[in-house]
Every structure is written in structure tokens, then in C-alpha cells.
Amino acid sequence: MATESIEVDYSKYDFKDSTDLYVHLGKKGISKDVITSISKMKGEPSWMLDFRHRAFETFMKRPMPDWGANLNAIDFQNIYYYAKASEKAEKSWDDVPDNVKNTFNKLGIPEAEKKFLAGVGAQYESEVVYHSLREDLAKQGVIFLDTDTALKKHPDIFKKYFGKIIPPEDNKFAALNSAVWSGGSFIYVPPGVKVDMPLQAYFRINAENIGQFERTLIVVDEGAEVHYIEGCTAPVYSSESLHSAVVELVALNDAKLRYTTIQNWSSDVYNLVTKRAYAYDGATVEWIDGNIGSKITMKYPGVYLMGRHAHGETLSIAFAGKGQHQDTGAKMVHLAPDTTSKVTSKSVSRLDGRSTYRGLLKVAKGATGVKASVRCDALLLDDTSKTDTYPYMEIEQEDATITHEATVGKIGDEQIFYLMSRGFSEDDALSLIVNGFMEPFTKELPMEYAVELNRLIKLEMDGSVG
């Protein structure tokens, strides 16, 4: 068979800025004092400080998860929990400090904003440095802010939903995030408003041993629609960084919400994220989740289907290369009648990388007429790569219709042969097959992102058939 390799072109993201110009870089380690000082620096109301302290207690009490990826190398005392590179979130790129602006220029964010985004947020280390929203949307009452500002400007909506979908007690890393959170996006879309272009946030870790703990809260009111995209990158260091976000989504009656993530953290980032959505009557929530980078990712976006006819969907791809473990999946919890959900997961492992699908499908008692399907496909590109599938299904209602299917395979020699007999080189044949395998994912992305993703996963073939 062919020896093959797929290389992720990382050079574009691997540049580092000096931390000398930072406004604030605290000391390493976590303690009650560190948390109090973060809260003080931000000038938060006292309920938030209490919330952080409560979360910290939970964090200390909870053991590390004994299932899933190996997290033993994380040293919580060797991480910066708060780093601030500029004074405040600017509304114009011109006002963003040069060193930070250059970063986002290199990543092509301002360019993208002009072309096809309705709003952009950019987070650098712990704080959001740039934020903008198209004027007509602001006039219709759409709120798109960094989460810290939202806490001050819109305390009512904020307090109503913050920490309600994912309380700190949910898991150890949600507790950690709740204790030290900083930055992230806050979006509110008023009833009936349909945001026609995506809103985007870009998260960048720059310095070594930084922990990024952004907190995102999106509330889409009745009949409204929005598409939110987040991208993540970091330069490569020899020691680990930690990214532990909490993302809470609320889709009220008949709302539509799509959340797209393209995660391309460098190969030394631990990416341990909790994401969950509540979907009420007739609402639709879609997670489009791409995991390309990081050393270890543990992420299981969930949809709690709370109201009749709500629909949840997760479409994810994972690429596990050398030294990577992508432990991802989806949770669909059906709590109301006539709710539907669909999970499609695709993974590609190569060069001893390991991809794991871990998912939960639950149909609660009383949730009649539920229909749900889960489909996992894994592609192993060489004989040292690994894949696991752990789908959990808990069905407590007799008239549910549930299916799960999974396949694992390698690229068939006959497929390669077929394409080569039509004039493709072996490299092209392989990349065509992998792209075809991922197509259900890429076709859901805005065109510019699909192109970017295809470029990111540049196929390189130097093998011979034997």
C-alpha cells in the first residue's frame, strides 16, 4: 500500500510577539487571591466575584477526569491565568496597539471583516482587543460585545443566562473557567431579527504557558437567526498552554443558531472546552466543529432540546496527527416531545495520532416521538494511527427512533487505482478521497472558510505503491 502523509501547514500561525509591551501579566498559578485580583482589575459587581469563588472551590474539590485523554502533564500552577496586552477593546483597527494588530493582520482578520462578516471580535490572551458590528444590525438592537463589557452594559440579560446552561459544578474545567474567565463574546439577537452575515470572533494565544479562559454567551430571541464563527490559533512553544472555554447558547422559540468553530491551536495546547446549547420550542441549534490543531482536545458540544419540535445538529471533523489526541463528540439530550437530532462525525488519524468519538444520546421519559441519528466515520491513514468510538445511548421512552452507525476503514487500494487509471497522480487521488470524505463538513462552511480549510490541510504525497 501507499505510504502517505497529510501535512498541516502551520507556518502561517507560528509567529510570536514579545510580551514586553503587555499592560498586565500577572504571576503564574491559581489561588483565591489571583481570582480576587482578576475580578478587581475588571471592576466587576460582587455577585460575579462570589460566583468566581464558588467555582474555584468546585474546581479544587473535583478530581481530574479519569476517562478520556491523558491530562497528567497539566500543571495548574505553571500557567498565567490573566494576561492583558492592551488597555481596552477598540472599535477601529487603527486604535489597536501595533504589535497586536500585526498579529491579526497576519491572520487576515481585518481583510475578512471587510468581505463577508457582519461583526468581528478579536481576543488576544485574556482580553478582547477589537470589536465591531455592522451599523444597521446595531440599530436593530443586535448586541455583539466582549463578555466583560456585556456584564457592565447589559446586566439584566447577562445575569439571566450566565452560568445557567453550564454551571460551575458541571465539570472540573467548567469550574476552572468560571473562576478565572476573561473575554469571549456576548451576543444578543432581538426577536425576529435575522443576521444575514456571520459574526466572527478570533482567539489568539501568544505567550508561553498562557491559559485562555474565554466565556461566550449567545442568546437568540424568538424567531431570530444568527451564525457565529470562532477561529483559534497559537504559536508553537515547547511547554504547554491551556485553553479552557465555556460556551453557553440559548435559542428561544423558533430561533436559529449556528455555531462554527475551526480550532487550529498549535500542537502544545490543551484544549478542554465545555459547550452547550438550550433549544426551545421549534428552535434549531447547529454546531459545526472542526478540530485540526492542539495536543489534546476534549470537547463534546451539547444541545438540550427543551421545547417541542426543537432540532439539534452536530457536524464535526477531527484531524489527529503526530502526538495529537482529538477526543471529541456530541451530546444530544431530548427533553421534549417531537424533538429531532442528528450527529455526523468524521475523523482522520495519521502518524500515530488518535481520534476518539465520545457521545451521548439521551431520550428522557415523556419525550415522545423523538427521532435521532448518529453517524461516525473514521479513516486511518497508516497502521500506527488509532481511533475509538464510545457512543452512549440512554433511551427511556418507548416510541423513540434511534440509530447509530459507525465505520472504520482505510483508503481502499481500489479507490486509488480507479482514480489513477483516470490520470490522477497518487497524491492527487489520495487528497481527492480525503476531501470527499470531509465534504459533508466543508460544504457547510462559508466559502472563504472552506477554501482556507482545504489549504490548511495540504496533502503531501511522496510515497510509492508497494
Binding site: 500500500m1 479519569d66 476517562w67 466515520d377 473514521a378 486511518l380 491513514l381 497508516d382 497502521d383 500506527t384 494511527s385 488509532k386 481511533t387 475509538d388 468510538t389 464510545y390 457512543p391 452512549y392 445511548m393 440512554e394 433511551i395 427511556e396 421512552q397 418507548e398 416510541d399 423513540a400 427512533t401 434511534i402 440509530t403 447509530h404 452507525e405 459507525a406 465505520t407 472504520v408 476503514g409 482505510k410 481502499g412
Partner: protein, 468 residues
Amino acid sequence: MSKLSLSLVDAGHIDGISSSRKEPDWLSKVRRTALGAYGELPIETSSLYSNYTDAKKMDPEKVFLDTAPSAGAPDLLKNRLQELADSGSAYAVQIGSTVTHVHIPDSLASAGLAVSSMTDALGTHPDMAKSAIESVDIREDRFTALNTAAFDSGLFVHIPRGLEVGDSIHLVVCLPDGGASTISRNIIHADEASRASIVQEIYAPNADMHQAYIELLTSDVKPGAHLDVTTLQMMNERAVNFSTRRTTMEKDATSNWYFGMFGSMLARYRIDYDLVGEGASVTDSEVAFGNSEQCFDIRTCINHKAPATEGRVTEKSILRDSSKSLFKGMIKIGENASKANAYLSGRTILLDPNAKSEAIPGLEIATNDVKATHAASVAQIDAEQLFYLRARCMSPKEAERIIVEGFLEPLSRKMSYQVRAWISSLVESKWSRRPLAINSDEELRKFVEVEETRYNEDAEIEQHYKYR
């Protein structure tokens, strides 16, 4: 020895078993070590399943062990014992912790076929018994440890090299009247190029406590051997059944296992197949049929440890009333198991609003030149199928019954027509809520006639896999 609650099992109890049976020293030591592990291990050792176990539904306070010889066979077994005596095939009967009957036809006995109690086997086949007992990793499961520490009975089967046993060998286990539980260590050893089929029947009379049959069965299938094992669990719905099984398959060995889980209030099965020899192949078919409050906790794992091995697990549950099934399936394909071919499926039909099903069909795959596919589904009876049958003048109940039978029937196709007839008759009894038994009466003869004319096929599995 007097009656003892399972929660009070201690070194004194196990030493008592050892000394009353004049067991060799090594065995007393193994028992002691295992007792220590039993005390330390959690009820579920795998973090994958720590929230998914029903083993705790057995209350050790309510389980009583009694190693005194049993009084005799409960009434429900009388007809069956007579039939076995008339049949002339090889069989063994264990009532409680006492093996009461063993019969081996002369022709098979002279060919070296051994069917005996474990205690006897320690004398007649000491090396085989020892290596089987020592092959078990007592730390892998709490109940493996319990069994190794405190087994008070068990059956041993050895099929010698090259021997082909035509008729099924029957292993009949029945818990005694009076409510005493039994812990059994069973061993099947199928030597090179042998061929045999074993039918295990498990019964329990009506009793008002958690009367338990706790079993550990290890099987060795040597190179080129073929072994079929059918377990028909027909215990009373108050009883408890714990079964831990590990089957080691060597080069080119083949094996078919059928589990008919019909009885007991709680059946906890932990089934492992180790495919250690190139070309080894196993087919595992499991049927759980739940009425009232019955609960089935099934964990099946196929470990592919050699190239070109083949494993198929098909589990199907029919759940009525408030019954529950929990299916934890796993395919593990190791780094050197290239060309392995694996299939795993769990399918459930829920017939009543309070029935409940959980399924975790897992895969762990460490090399790429393999075929592995799994599927699971939970649904109610297909409305279209129901409509079709009703359009042909069947009552809704009749139509449901036919669909359920059609759902379960394909799983027993690898077995002999006689065994298939028993299974059909048990499904029928289950459907009409009759007591479970497999007496060869007029009723059964009808099923035999049907099964004789059926063809063999594994269409479901063949059609499933396609590269995507």
C-alpha cells in the same frame, strides 16, 4: 457449614470450602489472593462504564450461600431430567452446589471425553484445571475475583484432540429449593481439531430472595477446534444471574455462542473473547427478552490480538413492561491485528412506555488495515410492518408477536435445528408469559418441524458492511 450471607464471605468461609474438598495448596492460595481483590475492587472497574452498571441491584445481604449437599432436584426439573436420561447423550446436572448426575456414552468416554464436577477435575485433569484457574486476571472485575475466591461448585468439560462429538453435551444447572445461592467455576477445554456443541441450561425455582447463580466460565478453543455453546437462561424472575465468561481462541479456531437471556430479575453478563491465534473467528449472538421488572446488564468485548481474526457480536433485546437492557459492546483491534474483520450491533425494540434501553457500542482500533463497523438502534415496532400484517387479517397482538419472532429468529441460525426449536419455544413462552422450560412435548415438536426446514444464512451481517 451453615448458611452465610454473601456480604459476610471471609477467609474462614473460603478456607472451609478448600479444606472440605481437600483442595491442593496452590488453589487455597489463589482463593485467598482473590478474596483480597474482591474486597478492594469497585463494582465496575472500567471508567468507561462507571455510570452504567446494574450489578448493584443484587443485594449481597439477601444472597445466601449454602455449601451443604442439596436436598434434590426442584419439581420443575423432573421431566427434563427424565428426558436427559432417555436421550443417551452426554450430560451433567448440578443442583445447587452439588453435581448430581453425570452421563457420558461409552463410545465418547473411551475416546477421552470428560464431563465432570470441578472438584473431580482437580484430580483427573489437574494441569488443565490449574492453568485455567490461574489464567484469569482476578483484578479485571470484582465478580471474577469473588468467583475465584469463593466458588463452591462448577462443571468441567474436556473434548480431546480430534474428537468430534455429534450430539450436544448438556450442562444443566438448577438452583435448589430453599433459596440458597451458588458460585460456580466452569471450564470448557476444546483441544486441537475437536468439534463439539454444548447446551447450558440454567434454572431457578420460585424463591423470595435474591437467589443467585454466580458463574465464571473460561473456555479454551485450541487450534483448528470448533465449539458451539448455547446458554438458555430460564431462571425464575426473582432470581439473579451473574455470569463472567472469557474465551480464548487460538489459530483457526471457530466458535459460535448463543445467549438466550429469558429469566431472572437481574442478569449481568460480562463476556470476553480473546482472539489470540491468526484466523480465529467467533460469532456471538445475544437475545434478551424482558418482562415485568427484568433487567439485563450485558457487556461484550471482542479482543482482536492476531491478524486476520474475525468477530461478530449481534445483540437484540425485546423489552416489555418496565424491563430494561443495558448493552455495552466493545471491539478492540490491537496493533498487530491487521486484516481483522469486526462487526458489532445492538438492536432494541421497546414495546411498553416504561421499558428502558441503554447502549454503548464502542470501538478501539489501533491499526488501519481492518474492517470494523458497528451499529445500534432503539425503536418500537415498525408501523408499516404492523399495517402490512393487519391488512392480512391479523390482530394487532398476533402481528406484534410475528414481528418479534422474526426479529429474534436470525440470531439462532448458526445452531442446530433442535436448539433453534427450543429457542423458538422459549420466545413463545415468554411472549405468552408462561413458565420457562424446554420439555420435548407436543408443543415443541411443532417448532422442531419448522426449524428442520429452515435454511442457514447470515444475511444481516453480510449486507451491513460497505465502505463509506
